[in-house]
Homo-oligomer: 238 residues x 2
DNA sequence: GAGTGGTCTAGACCACTGA
DNA sequence: CAGTGGTCTAGACCACTCT
């Protein structure tokens, strides 16, 4: 019995070339796992193995219980310029939308107190939103604002750009910017919001934002579908 | 039959709390998949499922055919400051080492020509190295240099810092820096060099480097074990 | 050579989505 | 309701590492 490569590798290759050739286009649904396993004469577990490795590569993605789809091109994103999401997306000829999930006045968790240099048990405004690219949810974001700097903000329309609201209503402009990126896994609310399974790989971009005078104003935690984004930073070192 | 959560989630939780409590310490080997499946009264596939989701989270990592280990803390890395790897690691009280895999004079692939703004079929020096953190291989890096700027460099000891060699032997200093980050999967040589299975998630950091006069001098592609690093950028916007 | 993960088979039932 | 992926069982052989 000959065995050049593994079955998984062959299936991966077959699907990759279908995608490269354009027969399977961006956003299209793949056949079901059961159909694929018949097609390739193997079991669902082997098929899933191949699909998961293509997912890890960023070529396809999975929506919980809906199926597998060909991944669209990545959005190019420079976290140093805290620009308006919608503007950034439109400059790349694509379509953006934002949905507010929840708006709360909370007691800050210890990790947040540390991040924002707050005393223990401080209160914070928490805003949770999801953002979509061409109709597909690609990012879950959680903002935490210092309440004393944003009186009444929770009553405004928060599906707009926060950067815009900061400028227009509070005359606050961003100064310094600091961000961290880690590759990790989705769980709980994050997984649900992104219609991902528990344990799917995601990119977490955490940022602390300072105003024009160097004071901390807020932080945000962006959870990106890992295949949806390319972080791109171009800058002269300080 | 009661079913609060999935078995996978329970196993994940059990292992996580063992790690958090310090009973399983950084770098320690977990019991084998077979032992774990007996311990939890389930099959290897279910165990593997739980292990893979902890791997995605960055809590544990797998070395091909050697076993599963508790992941050490992430290295904090700012790609904007193209500092010496060894220096950076030592500042974080850890131990670094570098091994040269290969050194070649190659014809540039199309994507490289584009990246380095070269005419088709240009030649390049290619240097491949792996870098370890506390004895564990965490990064595979491929450098491509413009040959005319680095005569004789391939004969030097390339396990040192390239930045250092550039300064001392060629009087070249870095100016502008530009980098991209994508979350993708290991394959082929990369997987092998990092002792990862095909399809394991990695972080690819690509950089194009300019000299003090703004001319392109080289590029590098760093393939990081995804759990080994935290990208951290702190800078004032240009 | 013993032990490890890598790969694979051939099924099963469940939870959720969408028409 | 039919169809999808999510989860799970109970095995098997192979390729590789380590001693």
């Amino acid at each position: 019995m000959e065995r050049t490569t593994t079955q998984t590798a062959q299936i991966r290759l077959a699907l990759t070339s279908q995608i490269n050739s354009g027969l399977l286009q961006s956003g299209m649904k793949l056949p079901s796992e059961r159909e694929l396993s018949e097609l390739f004469g193997t079991t669902r577990i082997t098929i899933k193995e191949a699909l998961q490795s293509l997912e890890a590569e960023g070529r396809i993605y999975c929506e919980d219980r809906r199926g597998w789809f060909v991944a669209p091109p990545r959005l190019v994103y420079n976290p140093l310029y805290r620009s308006h999401f919608h503007e950034m997306v439109e400059r790349q000829q694509r379509q953006a939308s934002t949905r507010v999930l929840s708006v709360r006045n909370i007691v800050a968790a210890p990790s947040l107190c540390q991040e924002l240099e707050l005393p223990a048990l401080s209160r914070l405004f928490q805003i949770r939103r999801v953002r979509s690219l061409d109709g597909r949810v690609v990012m879950f974001v959680e903002h935490h604002l210092k309440p004393e700097r944003f009186p009444g903000i929770l009553e405004l329309d928060l599906s707009q750009s926060l950067t815009g609201i900061y400028q227009q209503h509070y005359d606050i402009h961003y100064g310094r910017s600091r961000f961290d990126i880690v590759s990790t896994a989705a769980s709980g609310e994050v997984a649900q919001a992104l219609t991902l399974g528990e344990g799917s790989p995601i990119l977490l971009v955490s940022r602390v934002n300072y105003d024009q005078h160097g004071a901390i104003i807020d932080s945000d935690h962006e959870y990106w579908r890992h295949d949806a984004v390319r972080i791109s930073v171009d800058s002269r070192p300080g």
